[in-house]
């Protein structure tokens, strides 16, 4: 019951934090390593 709805709420809660972490891992960290 309400599996889809629960997943939707959880996505709403964690989507941006995940994007933030991904941005850090795949964009900021490689750039920093390159600068080193």
């Amino acid at each position: 019951m309400y599996l889809q709805e629960t997943v939707f709420i959880v996505i709403g809660l964690i989507l941006w934090p995940l994007i933030g972490i991904a941005y850090y891992l795949f964009k900021i960290r490689p750039e920093r390593e390159e600068m080193m």
Partner: protein, 485 residues
Amino acid sequence: MDTVLIVAILYLLLVIAVGFWAHRRGMTSWGEHEYDIGDKSVHWFPIMVSTFSTASSAFVFVGLFGMGYENGISMMWYAILATMVGPVLFWVFGERLRDMSGKFGSYTLVEFLNSRFGDKKGYLGGIGALITTIFLFFYVGGQIRAAGFQFKEFFGWPMIYGALIMGIVIIVYTFLAGFRGVVWTDTLQGLTMVGAMAALAIVGVYTIGGFEELLSQLAAQDPALVSITGGMPWASTAFTIFLAGWIASGLAGMGNPQVAVRPMGMRDSTKMKISGVTAAIIYAPTYATAVLAGTITRALVPDIAEVDAAFGVLVGELFPPIIAGIMLGGLLAAIMSTADSVLLTSSAEFIRNIYKKINPDSSSRQRLFYTRLLVTIMGVAAIYAGVYWEEYVFWFILFAWGGLGSAFLPVMAFSLFWEKITWEGAVAGVVSGFGTVVVWLGIIEPIYDFGIYEAIPGIIVSTLAILVVSKLTDPPRDVLEEIDI
């Protein structure tokens, strides 16, 4: 109730103390620039947090909360789409905005646009500052009104008492502390907001007995409350317009001068990207938890007379008075952190872009004096407007977010990334973006009732105007090459 009030007042005193502390720190290099933007030397963390607390305002606690209460889980789309404001502002625009405004020596968004186009007479700055000052004035009025309303709900006071308390606190510390103080108090307020929302959502879900129980209680009231699409079919025009509206709202946020000014004050442009990450991780979930907490309130108390009071009702339902006092502090924090920035931005825009053009020989000391004077006058007028000009305040706020966003976002974006934009194109963009929102909300929507968020046509028309007019007019002298960006 007394405990709630005492805790909330202690919180207000803490905020004033932080303002004073920042004021003392800034004393060594006290001047007009220091006041407007902290001399571009504020640490990235407070800049990031204050950007979010400025962008959030009473809207998170009152508006978004109420939307969750009324419409259910479909409002989570807001949290998914419109929260792009922070991360995207820092990731896409931040670095160039800071570098370019730094080279031009500009301290506000409108001033930046004016220097970007080498507008010596200051027409662009004048138009921009006028629009900004008028709309942001009413925006402050609306925030103060929200404060008065919450005091009324919590303590049964007349509106004017709460409005006066909050208004005076806001004026005093904006007056004393300037940008540096506002950023630091906003940081405190921002962290309080995050904590308050997270606590409400977690305790709320726990009290109800989990997501499953929450959703089935909502569904028992109205199946649309638990519909991901708000009861609309997935592949429908209505749902597409619904989603597009939230995207436009997020975009418009970045064009609001009091938000866009934030990255300009950042000391280290390499920290800009980290700020975006922090914004995504800390702040975006606050919007989502506000929606969730709104739906929790609906499940627990289905029959609230005024939706704007949903926050107070849930706090009263879930927490003992001491915690409720801190929660009220969180709400006041949201209101203040927006009102102070807006008050400061609109005063600074007016003095820098209009007064400075009328009286170019004025010293920076004089301009600081007039900025502070304007902060005081506008603040007092905003208290009055907030309490007694209800109709105008609602009307202006309705236009403010989308109107300012449509006027400035496309111009800002093209100014940063497109060399061929001309002065004429920029003026056309500001005027048409703003004008479209006014016409759309004032004339088209009342007749046709499309239900389309006004920033959608606003941003589209402004973008087209910039492109077409810039193509038709003479290419600009190469400002970008001159400053070597």
